[in-house]
Symmetry: C2
Subunit: 303 residues, 2 copies
């Protein structure tokens, strides 16, 4: 009888921790939940990320393969949210570009060659061209009223600088957090004392961080807690440490999400009131800007 | 320069998901949080699990090795909570015994031989002896006022029946959920139509389940949510599917925990009022028993 005592479902022990799995529960539970981009776009969870969308297809046309790096230069948007999921789900590495850095830091030669393709808001095309990074096709990810296929991120490649990186990420690492690559020069920028650095995160790390932070923030009895009826808007840029990881958490939690584009106090205030934003996060400088604007415009932010 | 672009902290990608890691945050944040056993014991988080405690030492004296199975026969208690952590932290397999099953099912020969050692409430010693499972040392895990070294679970082994199991768990599986081992006979017991089955869970599965359930339950805006100021008491037995996994979650969340021993309506009602219990879970039969008792005793359970 001993041989019959136990039977093991071995597959159950190997469930992989991948970014795409954060989509399963919200897509089952609340597929119609809203994703809002300023006063320009209103999507549902079923719209993003979707392999038939223009951004995804454009990336595919660049012949992006697993392990390749795809850069994103944009303000906070539904496009950036799509990039948070679509690029790693293709097996590629998302490289968020901090557009607040100096042009030299944004365009340092060392960071571009590794990129196979980038999604670029056309606001930044001029900057890239001035630094000899040519846009083979211009990209306009800002304009809201173009047909879908022409609206989203486009191919941007620089044949002169295009060569494969001599360093590959470790096998289970398919996510790169930042455009900031490490050099030996020292510089006082972006709140640190060193030249911008690059950091890799794996799918596993980001999924575990998402779960752990969901469990942490939502456990608070009152102040600072986040629950499933909240409306979320970031005021920490998505290019900055993944907006502290909130977009993955908010998507997993299936809440309504509001993306404000470039941070302008009047736009932020308007979105908070019209969309009913109840939860955000930011550094004191931005929050002070927001509070001052609210006082001047006589807007009540209570609640 | 390309060689300097990226440096990878490879160790960061391999952080293992082990039961012991659920203790890190609560031990740092709220080491003095309370664990209450009826009106008999009042411990803090620092007391459990601790390798210098009697239960742990007794298990060690059985020469338990990684991969061995340790059975637990007890009502809901601080000892059971210790077992939830201490046994897997030794690399052994926790086998929770459903003491509500028939004596034949509890003592089926097929389930005992694999056990190296058991923690047994002395209430069940007689049952084991009647079924030719001899207790070399009697165990009394109920009495509260003995010296610590004599109070906790003791060695219970049956040389006649003791032999190693012919099936070993898979390499990353060091946790076994249930005493219920599978046979081909059919029987209508414990709410199912089949003979009790055995199921293994790995550390990884239980840690992920803990995180995912923490994130889920605490996200609710009002009804049914659980937060860090709650006081927890199980009314689903710890021998039954790990009390739905709540003890790991409540420990990780660092809340005050109350364990009622064998479920007696008067004890449950008293603990709810005196300890300020705000969160529990149970099946309708038990809850109905509790509500009837509250009505008879004129106890107000509102809140």
């Amino acid at each position: 009888m001993a041989g019959r005592l136990i039977s093991v479902a071995r597959s159950a022990y190997q469930y992989p921790l991948l970014i795409k799995q954060l989509l399963h529960a919200p897509m089952l539970q609340t597929p119609d939940q809203q994703i809002v981009y300023r006063d320009l776009r209103r999507l549902t969870y079923t719209d993003l990320p979707r392999p038939d969308r223009a951004a995804w297809q454009t990336t595919s046309r660049c012949s992006v393969r697993p392990g390749d790096t795809v850069g994103v230069m944009d303000w906070d948007s539904h496009r950036f949210l799509e990039a948070f999921f679509a690029i790693p789900m293709m097996g590629a590495i998302l490289q968020t570009v901090n557009v607040r850095l100096s042009p030299e830091q944004v365009t340092i030669r060392q960071s571009w060659p590794a990129r196979r393709c980038s999604w670029v808001n056309d606001e930044f095309i001029g900057l890239l061209q001035r630094h000899q990074i040519s846009a083979q096709q211009s990209a306009d990810v800002r304009r809201p009223h173009r047909p879908a296929r022409a609206r989203e991120g486009r191919r941007l490649s620089s044949p002169r600088n295009m060569r494969s990186s001599s360093r590959q990420p470790p096998p289970n690492t398919t996510f790169r957090i930042s455009t900031r690559t490490r050099r030996q020069r020292r510089l006082t920028r972006t709140g640190t004392l060193v030249w911008p650095k690059g950091v890799y995160f794996s799918h596993r790390q980001l999924v575990l961080h998402t779960l752990a932070e969901l469990a942490r923030l939502e456990a608070r009895p009152e102040q600072g807690r986040f629950h499933s009826n909240d409306v979320y808007m970031p005021i920490t840029p998505m290019f900055h440490v993944h907006a502290w990881g909130f977009p993955w958490r908010r998507r997993r939690r299936a809440v309504k999400q509001v993306y404000p584009g470039r941070y302008a106090p009047d736009v932020l205030l308007k979105l908070i009131k019209t969309e009913g934003v109840t939860f955000t996060h930011g550094v004191p400088t931005i929050l002070q800007m927001l509070l001052s604007a609210a006082e001047q415009a006589n807007v009540d932010l209570s609640g």
